[in-house]
Point group: C2
Chain length 298, copies 2
């Protein structure tokens, strides 16, 4: 069973839960879950695993492993327009692994740099590969509230931050900056004009397809508009390569072309229309299903 099918299955189950869990504002199926506390404060929560041989190659420096483990989970907070509060890290360490001390030092340093202190954890030995499971806790933008995948409307334009493609081959997947500042700034600047948002882990085609599905709309991407890294020659690769960890969002009205605090470019890459699915219009004028481009994590 593929991750997308499993997640759909989990999501279906969660909808069947009794309504007595009043604290759960958003359950499975978005970048973060959203809980409401007794006084009404909203908390964002997300968990991600980083597994050797799957998400990083053996021999990757310890500090890069620590960085990616935290940055991936923090990117889920950025995708909701949120800010980090704290993190918990669970590590499964092979018996042969000798750098546990350095790994945890690096995780603490990275976490502190993200203003996301490690407040708990668990360590176990494993006969399998090294794995780090990071749970992040955050808070949504105070005025805008959590930015969901399900708030795209027909007529919205579709945007991405930064440039796409070649993350794995270039090594950028080990050093990307989660778009926290950009996500917060979009909430500040666009407010309710900001529609849906997601972070790009599995490729623009697949992830924009998730917005379309969650929002009950269709998304049309234009290959000629996709901003590519200089080492990515092919628009199709930029749409299908995973692990960009840029933000994809929809919005109505004017959207600045650059985030003033960070200089990150903002590029319109398509439109939201009525219907379903996510298509990519190629330079040839042909269109193809984009939601099956890219890859499944896991």
């Amino acid at each position: 069973m593929r991750e997308s099918e499993l997640l759909a299955h989990i999501y279906d189950r969660s909808k069947a839960l009794p309504g007595s869990f009043a604290e759960v504002v958003v359950g499975p199926g978005d970048d973060c879950a959203v809980l409401r506390s007794a006084s009404g404060d909203l908390t964002l929560l997300s968990v991600d695993q980083l597994i050797e041989g799957r998400h990083f190659e053996p021999g990757t420096p310890t500090d890069r492993i620590a960085y990616k483990a935290l940055a991936r989970s923090i990117s889920d907070l950025a995708a909701m327009g949120g800010e980090p509060t704290a993190a918990l890290a669970a590590a499964a360490l092979p018996d042969s692994f000798r750098d546990a001390d350095a790994l945890f030092d690096a995780m603490h340093m990275v976490a502190a740099d993200f203003a996301c202190p490690l407040v708990g954890g668990d360590i176990a030995r494993t006969t399998g590969p090294l794995s780090l499971t990071v749970t992040v806790v955050g808070s949504p933008h105070t005025e805008r509230g959590p930015v969901l995948r399900s708030d795209a409307r027909a007529g919205d334009a579709v945007f991405v931050t930064g440039r796409l493609g070649g993350s794995l081959t270039s090594g950028r997947h080990l050093s990307f900056s989660p778009r926290l500042a950009e996500g917060g700034w979009l909430c500040d600047t666009l407010g309710d004009r900001l529609g849906a948002m997601i972070d790009l882990s599995d490729g623009l085609g697949r992830d924009a397809g998730r917005i379309a599905l969650a929002s009950g709309v269709a998304i049309e991407l234009d290959a000629s508009l996709i901003p590519r890294h200089p080492d990515v020659t092919d628009a199709l690769a930029a749409v299908s390569d995973g692990e960009d960890y840029e933000l994809c969002f929809t919005a109505r009205g004017e959207v600045p072309t650059r985030c003033p605090q960070t200089g990150t470019v903002i590029t319109r890459v398509g439109w939201v229309v009525t219907g379903s699915g996510c298509t990519l219009r190629l330079d040839s004028g042909q269109t193809q299903d984009a939601s099956e481009l890219g890859w499944e994590h896991g």
Copy 2:
């Protein structure tokens, strides 16, 4: 490096964090972390891993794996006197694993039974053993607040819920009840007379030693008082076997001998005195260091 050393290392690092993280009330080193929200609400957080071949044997029924994964993490909430709000589950699945669907169904059912809905997750394929990492979110007792490991005082008596020993050999480690009701009732009944509390994952000797260390006191356990399961003939085994998931707590003044809601027995097993360490007084009158009895998870 052993887990206890690593956790001490992590704890030391966390103390060096700048004081700007005002939301963190309790960091690493207790059963749960405690965060404070903008309005002052307290949230409990804990994460635990369950790894095939380490925490359960290959061939264990899927529903028991799901049960233990959730129950272990929820036991950490019980150890703070808290209640569950929600959980996140990360699963690393071997390519050969065919029961993902049944596993997640079971996790949702167990989570719902604990009133702790699964609100998020992550699924990845692994070349290693099946592992489930469960993060739980909860709230502390409204009046008593979080029950820490560090609040034992010389003069307190030391108690345990239920009976100890033989959890792994009997299979009880796959079916134990986290002592949520008992933890909440202790907060209700004892209030500020309730001192420190921990759940027994690594054996009474080792875990009571953690209370002693965190509280800056010594604990003296009396082997003749330890309540054993009928299949456990040896007091030393009851003190050193892990995975009881009973509560160990300290208290001043009168303590009931049974939790009225659940019938769980409460037994005094020792005393808190000035000094450091945790000793076990044997029937022979000899004492031995109890904090190195039991085993290290991981």
